[in-house]
Amino acid sequence: MIATAPPNMVTLTIDGAEVTVPAGTLVVEAAREAGIDVPVFCYHPKLSLAGACRMCVCEIGMPPPPGQPARPPALLTSCTTRVTPGMVVNTMASGALKARESVIEFLLINHPLDCPVCDAGGECPLQDNSHAWGPKESRFAEEKRLARKGAPLSPLVVLDQERCIVCYRCTRFMAEIPGEAELDFFNRGYSSELRTINDEAMQSRFQGNIIDLCPCGALTSETYRFRARPHDLDHADSVCAQCPVGCNIVLDSRANIMARVRPRQNESVNEIWLCDKGRFAHHYVSSPERLTQPLVMGDDGELRAASWPEALGTAAVRLQQIKEQYGPRAIGVIGGRNLANEDCYALARFAREALETPNIDHRAGARTAAANPLAAHGLDAFNSTYGAVESAGAVVLLGTDVYEEMPVFWLRIRKAVMFGAKLIVANPRATEADRLALHRLRYRPGAELSVLRGLLAALVESPPHEHAPPPAEGGEGAPPPPRDLSGLRQALGGVTVEDAARESGVMAETLRAVAATLAGAKNPLIYAGARLVIRADAAGLAAALVNLGGALGDRRAVNFFTEGANGRGAELAGLVPDEGGLSAGEIIAQAAEGKIKALYLAGENVLATHPDAEQARRALENAELVVMQELFVTETARHADIVFSATSLPEKEGTLTNAEGRVQRMHSGVRNEAEGRPDWSIVSELSAEMGVPLGYAAAVEVTRDLLADLPAYAPLAGCTIPSEGVIAREHAAEESAEPSAVQWAPLTPGPSPTGARPLTPSPSPTRGEGNEGAAPSAPTPPLPAWERGPGGGGLILVTYSELLGDETMVRPTTELLMMVPEPYVELNRSDAARLGLKDGQFAEVSTHKGGVVHRVRVNGRCPEGVCFVPDNVGEPRVNVLLDWESPATVVQVRPAPESVGVAAGVPGTAGAVAAEGR
């Protein structure tokens, strides 16, 4: 029968039954396959093999080599032994049972057995295995070892060293999955202790996962400790509401209060991981600060509580008034990227059918109308699956700090790199991903297009070869022909690698080296940051990206990230400007000018998210009417005339669509006990009040409607959403697996449809004029600091959101808030020296719009002439510096006068400022 096993399959006997599994399978997995659970502690299918605990021992026998006598079976750890043909495994052999019993007895010698006060009690593998396999009594009468209890490893994770069974799951996770080996065992044997260097707090954004992995109560969550027992909890399957990755979660609540968030396995999305924001930031749901009922602005200019009928009635009357007096185009609707699909769809219908305005957008700060700049090329904004990255030969990250932007997806990219994918990171500032990158491209802020043109020019210089089976050994078979890139050469219109190098600040050799790496890679994938989608030159970037994909063999290699928990869902649900409509950024700009009279803001705190706080403030002040749907009275809500109290995502039933376009179901984890209503219901009632009933009484009705109505979801018609979610694009039967025919996109970005100013103030003369699809002029951003060199004074400001900011959804989780960095401005060493600033001092960062005072971080992450400030920490936010009219921001940085007082606690700071301040 062994001979009949298909190639690469191995047949063995486990507990008397024959099992056939792929070669290389571990015995413990083969047993699972056969429905036999061998107990384990240290073994974990996602981690490397440790063989540390010996719990999984089985009696394993091998057939003797021909002509030799049979040898007795041995006790082997089934988690490190791989199957071989004819192997005979006895998982319940008396020797194995005895060994397991001893292992448990030994593990419990020093274990405190404080199950009654242990969080893990009731869901503890050590408890379960002791019960199932352990001895009835301990023979250990001596004193147990004492060690650290309740010792914080960080504000989030607490260690009980006495309970630790030294299985190395936590340390292996940190070293292998996020690659941040900041936790390890110190000393040895009896004295082994889990520590960080100098007992410093762990920094990783993935540390919560070690709580799940710990097979006992040694690692517990600071936010969940002593708050519930597993049997007290109610569970609901949902989707994380904190970023576009769309990790699958279980919401555990006790007495209708959120107790914790656990990952739910979905191999296509998050596998079994969560980032710490997704895991810990849930306290906002039950926060006492939540808006409990609608608010209406009284005659005295103060917001006061109102009943739903009053708020809805007032909003309907006033929206109607504006519509009649100024026309529907005087209304702008912004929001949706943090709402469920149902909310987005109902809001889009309300905006189009009741308000009849074309000014609809979910992308705060957007400058262009095209929500998906790849649509012009017949592509979705994201054209692969997360899983596809694992078979990519090369991965390009352009203009994204993926660790901060798409944390759990970063883990998968990292996995791909560990499997051999070549990583190319192009970003104006060094990111976590740079640590693994083969090529790092540090370009001038805003010069993405030049980088892409440089890569294209380099590919035209030496085109990649068509994919073909490698020539047989011995030089037989001609090498595949080089790909025909003459069309691309035309489209580029004579731009050379050197031109692009000059424009982008990336060396020509680097561009050529990257092109060569990409040309030699199978299935390269390109990911572009979400902030690139909303830029004025998004259309040009999209064209260049599509061409890059095409030159490498498949235009569908291009993928744009998105912002918000449901940015993709909002885009697909139609929260995008109609023909002739305004983008979110333009709506605010026009409201500031008094041209937009009414703002309808659904969960969008524009004062914090519009890239010009002063303009956003004017917009709120000048608009005659501001209506909001909100969870909290945000700074924006204080300017509103009517605020509807909405429900949060963990309270909602419905669906979310993640960055890759996967539609996933979420169920309500807690009920809203105040007068909060789901956003879809608010807009349907408001719409009805305005005489246009949408006719929805339950979320499922909206789900049904949106799946049937929206073209993006057409392939899903009539299918139920499976638990792992579904991507319409993948579901479409007619989707051809073949790369679409190469069409070179003209590289001239069309005139900006929205009239927003392009990045280049004055285009330089076009090369190859008269050519169809001639290359555009170099869109070199204004770069005073680079051009003038050190001493020029200004620095280019780069700003984006880091994963953890002091946002409304994070602030109520005080433990997580402690992980949020203090607001900072990051400077290059030479700029800092020139400006007379040292690490840890305070600096004032200012433009003509305003200033912020932040702690200085001096390191090598920003190149000279560039500084970075995260835009989601600090009061005020860095957007007070930004000017909507000029997309590139040059800031002045100088030692802050108040730093002498404020920084007095920082060693060596105060005197330095006094001496070096200018």
Partner: protein, 186 residues
Amino acid sequence: MPLSHELKDRITKDYFLRYATKRAALMPALWMAQQEHGWLSRETVEEVAELLDMHPTDVAAVASFYVMFNHRPVGKKIVEVCENPSCVINGATETLHRICERLGIPAGAHHGGATTADGEFTVRPTECVAACDKAPVIQVNSRYYGPVPPDKVDEFLADMEKFNVEGLPAANDLEGRAKHLRREVR
């Protein structure tokens, strides 16, 4: 004080070529760093980590496994008293106790040892040093001395003044150690 260029060169140009991973050069790197600095400070650990592309926690954890890595500054002479059976049977416990008493080190300052205020001596217990024939045996800067039964402690300490520490320079004689290292490199 940063690691010397010689040391870094030796790691990157010699040891990196011997192993498949940079991490594999950790033990020689730590040992040489200790030879240069006498002990492994936080700064040294970080430098080694950077050189080997490792997390400082990872480096510190490996170092903590071995008692022969010093985790705090040590004296010029490291006096190690064997605490294993042959030596203990012959009075090592009392020997150690007396040495500590004479040098003004709080008795029982075990594991990790203790250093005299003048930085002359570090005293610590050790496992069997494979010189049971000289039990109770003492090691001074890795050289055997013994037997030293309790009543010979004063004699031993007097001898220490002129104890010839051949081979290894004193643990905190950094210059001497650097020279020694250079000699080894050749």
